[in-house]
Subunit: 328 residues, 2 copies
Amino acid sequence: MANITSATANADGRIAVVGTGLVGSGWAIVFARAGLAVSLYDAVPGAAERARALIGERLGDLEAVGLVEDPAAIHARVVVADSLADALSGALYVQESVLERVDVKTALMSEIDAVIGPETWVGSSSSGIGASLFTAHVACRARCLVAHPLNPPYLAPIVELVPAPWTAPETVRGVRGLMERVGQSPVEMTREAEGFILNRLQGVLLMEAWRLVEQGLATAEDVDKTVSQGLGLRWAFMGPFETIDLNAPGGVADYARRLGGLYQSIAASTDQHRTWDEPLIATVEAQRRAVLPAAELSARSAWRDRRLMALALHKREMEAADMKEESR
Amino acid sequence: MANITSATANADGRIAVVGTGLVGSGWAIVFARAGLAVSLYDAVPGAAERARALIGERLGDLEAVGLVEDPAAIHARVVVADSLADALSGALYVQESVLERVDVKTALMSEIDAVIGPETWVGSSSSGIGASLFTAHVACRARCLVAHPLNPPYLAPIVELVPAPWTAPETVRGVRGLMERVGQSPVEMTREAEGFILNRLQGVLLMEAWRLVEQGLATAEDVDKTVSQGLGLRWAFMGPFETIDLNAPGGVADYARRLGGLYQSIAASTDQHRTWDEPLIATVEAQRRAVLPAAELSARSAWRDRRLMALALHKREMEAADMKEESR
């Protein structure tokens, strides 16, 4: 990890995780797993200690399925800081994961600005609020951006890097390099847009999913099966552009000329359906509860986490096999 | 398989695959793998024989990764018919997979109608054309519907069942039962809609993907990574409704009330971007060719097929473990 620390002469390469809920705890695992020292800080007394215990449990789960090898060593790299200043002291990078509210993030940025070193970067886990809405007032704003993960970040590699208008290009480059070195897959937006990339893509698909139910064309369960037994199989390892690039003899341009008209026509038919209103919510809620009673939500979430871990292991094995193939 | 054949006293349970290109060949594997006898027919002389040889090769690939056990026995259940009448003789079900053109499908349906038994169902692999556009004129039309697979159907279980206005409910029920018994995952539309479920969902996501590139917000490569390293991980085993049902403490209704507004706002911002025009096609084509040169398209398609096979095996193992867990 020497190539990370050498980028900032005044930092010792420590990562500060500020806000230690599920997202912050997940980030701590990402950085500690990669060999970096992590300091946890949370304004709520006792929260960082509870997070550190939870991190230990999660590392045990990851070891059990073969996703990490030495959980005790990883856990030992995660420490609880006495104060925000203590957490940020010598930090290369701060991952902020507090409540998704402009006022909360704005106040925290003032506190961070007061104690931050001259070369430390700050990434916010914000899933929807752009950094421009809570960093305008701080001196360190050129070193701030959004670094939005999918939960949990130690299983889903994606990180969306979204600069505010005043974020320095070197900040994006530096955080991108850090994320790549700790094994994440950073993507970059050139500027802020509501929902960033991930929730824009999820949002339009969800909008059509709700519309199919609203129009009585299909049940929520059948919409789900269409993805989990069909579309989602390719999307688990290829994006939408690569998928269509391989689905016409002449690649993506060939595909676009053949099918662009169909998709424009489908899109035109979706314009008037943007409601998510209460009667529709009640319909979908009833259909989901018939498939999964409310009492089983948390057990099913645990199932989802087991499946995500198994899929992460599967993908790691596949990618190792691909690399072996390429190096022949 | 006795429960399939007993549903139709006049049929011996044979499946007729009419049109033996990639899609028809894939269907033959699905039915033969499940123990059913399959007759291949293609109007192009020699095409069915070539398909049968290709099916043998594919079965070998599937055996190599552990997805089928006795490829020779499966292959032996697939025979080439001398004529359309021969293929349909005693057939429980006809899977039609000819060229995606209304005139071609209309003419073929007249031929099928002339030789079909009184209880045989006809499913079309049509990915976009509703059965109402090519079955209005035939006597057997109450027994016709669309049964649209994702390619290849022996790796992607999804089958979209889409009735024409005159399709009998018993036809939908019968074909659904058949598809379930051969291991596919049927979903039903209540009526025809352009793109059915699968391509409507893919279409809106693609539309937003193209828009992100058009607006210069992200590259095609980063859009792809956002799916393959993020969104697509959950969608490989959970649909969009189950995903959000597990993403808010109170389930899907709670999620909708929290985030419906965001998604409506995102949707409203996408209305004016429906072009897929030539300059944009050129931009995406250039970005894709930088990632994957045209000369490597077919090698990458072979990679995709290997990954799909491995994912199918992974999912089969996971589902077997889930069932063992449930039966405890």
